[in-house]
């Protein structure tokens, strides 16, 4: 793929090398190229289209749930299993502390390479994954621990066995239980938020989205095929369907958009985590100040106001 930024960067590197090895003053040329680089970056990332964000959200190098956990929660202890005979690797769960207070962490987990993806089923959970998540939510409720969920899935797995074992029921059950879970829930979309498979761990008090993540009821390709009978119109669908963080903030579905590192979260996961952490901590502090009643009424109102007028 042609990457103008990379190209200018390479030119700049060569100039620097020449200047150093040959002792020639090339500072004017270098300043010129640096200015060009800055302009290019601004053009490309400043004017970014929904479809570009879809590509960024799908970038195989994009940090996964475990990458953020490693940065944000160094004391994370992973715990496993749905207690009914299965441990879905597409959902991870465990305990950690946030600013000294215990929290339960649940998230979709993609693989970072093919082998990992086979193990993680590309981050697409089976019903058992949702039931595993639910077990940890109920545990969090028992010990009055807030829940933080990381959303990063193309969707719940569309398989024969998944249907037989109640994919619909598993997701529905989680929505039902999260509706009145008596502890704060914060969800963060870090990559792709794919429909019911995302919402299955995403009913929350605060919904945060990384700047270049997407959240949609169907993939842009799927929407284009369904609505206009042409999957090639995906780029248009990415705009029309309003799936970016900013679009969803405008619709009142997302509570806050987390700024991304210049060029995308994959450029520097540690810097990205340091951008996410204060936002997360701030929302957690606000939610922890609420009584149980305020919390649950607020959660119900949050979903009630979406799509309705004058409520």
């Amino acid at each position: 793929m042609f990457d103008p930024i990379k190209e200018v960067n390479e030119q700049l590197g060569k100039l620097r090398e020449t200047a150093e090895t040959k002792g020639i003053d090339l500072s004017r040329e270098m300043r010129h190229l640096e200015a060009k680089l800055h302009r290019l970056e601004k053009d490309i990332y400043g004017n970014i289209k929904p479809w570009d964000r879809v590509q960024l959200a799908r970038n195989p190098k994009r940090p996964t749930t475990l990458d953020y956990i490693a940065q944000l929660f160094p004391d994370f202890i992973e715990l496993h299993g749905d207690r009914h005979g299965y441990d879905d690797a597409a959902i991870i769960a465990g305990l950690a502390t946030l600013d000294g207070t215990p929290v339960t962490i649940i998230g979709h987990q993609r693989g970072r390479n093919t082998k990992e993806n086979m193990h993680r089923n590309f981050g697409m959970p089976h019903p058992e994954g949702y039931r595993k998540a639910l077990r940890f939510m109920k545990q969090a409720e028992k010990f009055n621990r807030p829940v933080i969920t990381f959303i990063d899935t193309k969707g719940a797995y569309p398989g024969k066995a998944a249907e037989e074992r109640g994919q619909s029921e598993a997701i529905a059950r989680n929505l039902f239980e999260m509706a009145t879970l008596k502890v704060p829930i914060i969800s963060i979309v870090i990559g792709e938020g794919g429909s019911g498979g995302a919402l299955g761990i995403g009913v929350c008090d605060r919904l945060l989205m990384l700047e270049n993540s997407t959240y949609s009821v169907i993939s842009p390709e799927g929407a284009a095929a369904l609505l206009w009978k042409d999957a090639k119109l995906a780029e248009r669908a990415a705009e029309t369907m309003k799936i970016t963080a900013q679009d969803l903030l405008n619709l009142g579905i997302v509570d806050e958009v987390v700024t991304e590192v210049f060029g995308g979260a994959h450029i520097d996961v540690s810097l990205q985590s340091s951008l996410l952490k204060p936002v997360l901590a701030q929302h957690m502090m606000e939610l922890r100040g609420r009584t149980q009643n305020e919390l649950l009424q607020g959660r119900a109102a949050k979903y009630h106001q979406i799509g309705t007028i004058g409520s």
């Binding site: 398989g159 074992r165 059950r173 919402l199 959240y215 949609s216 309003k242 799509g307």
Partner: protein, 290 residues
């Protein structure tokens, strides 16, 4: 090219065959008088079929409109329809969406893909919600979601059971994420109803798929379905593409799900009323004499 050459060229032209589209056999009687069963092809007198709950002798359940369902289920004159919720009609400003809604309104005579209200079944008070698949394939947008949530909240306040008939292709594409969030909106209302100790029966009819199956359709204290109804989360074609194998014919039917432990019962339409009446009675339903 002179006339003679043109004639020769005409006769030399290779033969071409015009494709003839196969037509339905011409036994389709005047519209309305007769109705053909799409399953066994039997021709019914529409009037007789209607008297038979719109069920063919072969067991095929014809789809019902919301009004037909309500008439079949509740006591005469007992249905008090709830006002529709106040929602943003086109939250994404999706091109041509309002026109599509308008056309479906004209065609079906209903405001949206669901009708909700208060009624009695043999004197037992109940809140009834019925989806209508004729309207935008029964898909769920803000109207459908909020109509359900609001009807359920009323039921919670008045301590009434809820019976909800699903018939839906899933999310309303033109409402995008606003549609997806209705899964949460409806589930929250149902959970509050549940915590008040009240009965909710989900009655799944053909088809119940996608976001509707993955929310209120599966959240009943009792989940039942009509025979032969298609019920599932993902579409058959997507699953076949994903697992690269052909699915059995009965895959995602009500009977298939019953066997897989995902439903409480498959209830024939003839038993619908008596089944629901019994359920409401068993859960402390009271007769309210008007």
């Amino acid at each position: 090219m002179n006339e003679g050459e043109a004639m020769t060229a005409f006769f030399k032209r290779p033969k071409r065959y015009m494709p003839l589209r196969q037509r339905e056999p011409k036994i389709d009687a005047p519209q309305g008088l007769m109705t053909k069963c799409p399953s066994c092809k039997y021709m019914h007198y529409t009037k007789q079929l209607n008297e038979n709950h719109k069920v063919c002798d072969c067991g095929y359940h014809f789809p019902l409109s919301a009004d037909e369902r309500i008439r079949m289920l509740v006591d005469d004159q007992s249905f008090e329809k709830f006002a529709g919720p106040l929602v943003k009609e086109n939250p994404l400003n999706f091109p041509d969406y309002e026109d599509k809604l308008e056309k479906d309104r004209e065609r079906t005579g209903i405001e949206e893909a669901i009708v909700c209200g208060r009624a009695t079944i043999d004197g037992l008070s109940v809140v009834v919600c019925v989806m209508d698949a004729r309207f935008r394939m029964g898909s769920m947008g803000a109207y459908v979601g909020e109509a359900i949530a609001s009807a359920v909240r009323t039921a919670t306040k008045e301590r009434l059971p809820v019976v909800l008939f699903t018939a839906s292709g899933g999310a309303r594409m033109q409402e995008g994420m606003v549609s997806l969030m209705q899964m949460a909106n409806t589930s929250i209302a149902l959970k509050q109803h549940d915590e008040a100790g009240l009965l909710y029966v989900a009655y799944l009819t053909h088809p119940t798929t996608g976001g509707v199956s993955a929310s209120f359709a599966m959240l009943g204290d009792v989940n039942v379905a009509e025979p032969g109804a298609l019920i599932g989360f993902a579409g058959r074609r997507i699953i076949e593409q994903t697992i690269r194998e052909k699915l059995p014919d009965n895959f995602q039917t009500a009977e298939f799900l019953l066997e897989a432990g995902q439903l409480d019962a498959v209830v024939h339409r003839e038993q619908m009323r008596s089944f629901l009446k019994k359920m409401i009675e068993l859960h402390g339903g009271e007769v309210h004499h008007v």
